[in-house]
Point group: C2
Chain length 339, copies 2
Amino acid sequence: MPGQTSRPATITDVAARAGVSVPTVSRVLTGAARVSPDKRRLVEAAISELRFRPSAAARVLASRRSQVIAVIAGETSRYGYAETIRGVEEAARAVGYTVMITVVESADQDELDRAMSATLSQPIAGVIVLKFDPPGVAALHRVPADLPVVALSGVREKNIAQAVLDETRAAEELTAFLLGLGHATVHHVRVPPSRREDGRTTGWRRALRKAGAEVITPYDATWEPRSGRAIGHEIAADASVSAVFCGNDEIAMGVVRGLNDQGLRVPEDVSVVGFDNHPLAEMWSPALTTVEQDFAGMGRRGFDLLAQLVNGEDGRTFSSERPRLLVRDSAAAPAPQRG
Amino acid sequence: MPGQTSRPATITDVAARAGVSVPTVSRVLTGAARVSPDKRRLVEAAISELRFRPSAAARVLASRRSQVIAVIAGETSRYGYAETIRGVEEAARAVGYTVMITVVESADQDELDRAMSATLSQPIAGVIVLKFDPPGVAALHRVPADLPVVALSGVREKNIAQAVLDETRAAEELTAFLLGLGHATVHHVRVPPSRREDGRTTGWRRALRKAGAEVITPYDATWEPRSGRAIGHEIAADASVSAVFCGNDEIAMGVVRGLNDQGLRVPEDVSVVGFDNHPLAEMWSPALTTVEQDFAGMGRRGFDLLAQLVNGEDGRTFSSERPRLLVRDSAAAPAPQRG
DNA sequence: CTGAAAGCGCTAACAA
DNA sequence: TTGTTAGCGCTTTCAG
């Protein structure tokens, strides 16, 4: 008998073919109740013969439960973002969840709502927000209260489940390391901050204060490595700079390049350190001293937190990890003729 | 009157509040039919007072249409992958679609089906497959026939809608450029290929054949820059190598670094070129000669193709773009003492 | 232009 | 253990 139309099989088709009722098929699908071995076998056979795939939409509607989570982020392709998302996806996939990506480009209310509404009207079990930047911060505050939420970031926030990387402590440690090398102070190149001040800047400032070193206004970079290069040119012209802490490795590479453009050598003339341990940081010449950040791990921890919330288990609502200092070749004692 | 429970408002609530029937609310939601201005106003007021968001699940179930597409990929965070996904997401968001990410780590049938079934049971309008690697290729062949599909890649395939970047032509051009500089032949470092041979390798071979140059077996790198560095060490030991074409910029940076480790200079001793125009390629010393690949653009074009299929419009089913050669500083005429 | 009625494919009580 | 009966929240006929 030919002519089966290619309409996807439904649970009703399966039930008919297996000679059982629809709920029985549902039972073998969900495992919610016991089914006799022979009926189960019949149902399973029917399922595979018909290539039946249950409709998630119908399922969600009837059960009010979903196996999808949304990740809301200001970007998706820069190193830290991409790795974090990768971690979330991995952890989600391991337990049968799918992840939906929502990019929020602006912190503007209307634009935000427009971007989010498409996602929020989807049947999602929960939301993970990458609170890395202003759009992320804004998005966090517009997630409906009835939806489980986890924020991922470098800075702690009250009353919200959160997985963080303790950037503040790590930045403090890195800055102290530079000071320990003998530098009078450490200059700072910021990446775009999520609020007034990010953890890296706070840690840097704290280390300088503790050491009684002068706190010089940071340079502001964009996410583009070439903005670091331009700052490198500025720094080269300022003989008082002997050590520079950059908000991330890509900017650090730009700064090194900018310094080199002007004939300065790293670390002989100026020490430069980065943050994140980007895959290319160790390939760079000189290999970058930096801080290793386990973004994927944070993503995984974030998903675990969310899964807890979704399942109504209690447990920790906060997960923090301390990034690790990676001493390589881009920092050394200050040159006598500079600083 | 307090005590509204926080149960999300449904279309029925809105209808009641606006004093109209449910279908009328539906009409203003979908715009499928004309509604008198006053009723429309009433409905809109009720919607915003109740903070009503239509349930996508119910909508999909009733209308059999979805505003979600799935992206299936072997990875998500390496440069080309991340940028491609970014392009798809951008184009999708612009027209109110949401994207779901599915990572397929292996080409193994069972593992693939497991990874894909979670996504395929979701109500999706179509699928975009990143056919960049073996898992991607395998995934493409397991997408149900009734689902609109677009493949994204560097190599053309029959009978399937596809957006590509013409890597073969670009690689040929790049190799010819090196040959034109006076190199007797060009060595090649491959990145993990999606099948037997990727477009970059094919283009390289073609250029060598046309020029009558010797075709030497390529080195095989992984996606990790450090694998390039190890290959750089090998190349340094082989004085016959004067020009190297690397499968991507990250590997090229590794190779340059490996060459430098052994005291060789680029491009004075050996010319090295990459592929992709990674954001750090121009920061590198020397700035990398490479090929600019518009991955995000390919992602966008892919989505547009998919949207066509979903909407049942006819039109082009293939979209190709030619990457652009970017001459910078990492390639020069061969050194007399090598090659 | 509008409402009544039916049904999308599934799960959740409830009996049997 | 199994089937029957009701919906989940929406869109889609079909009348009017």
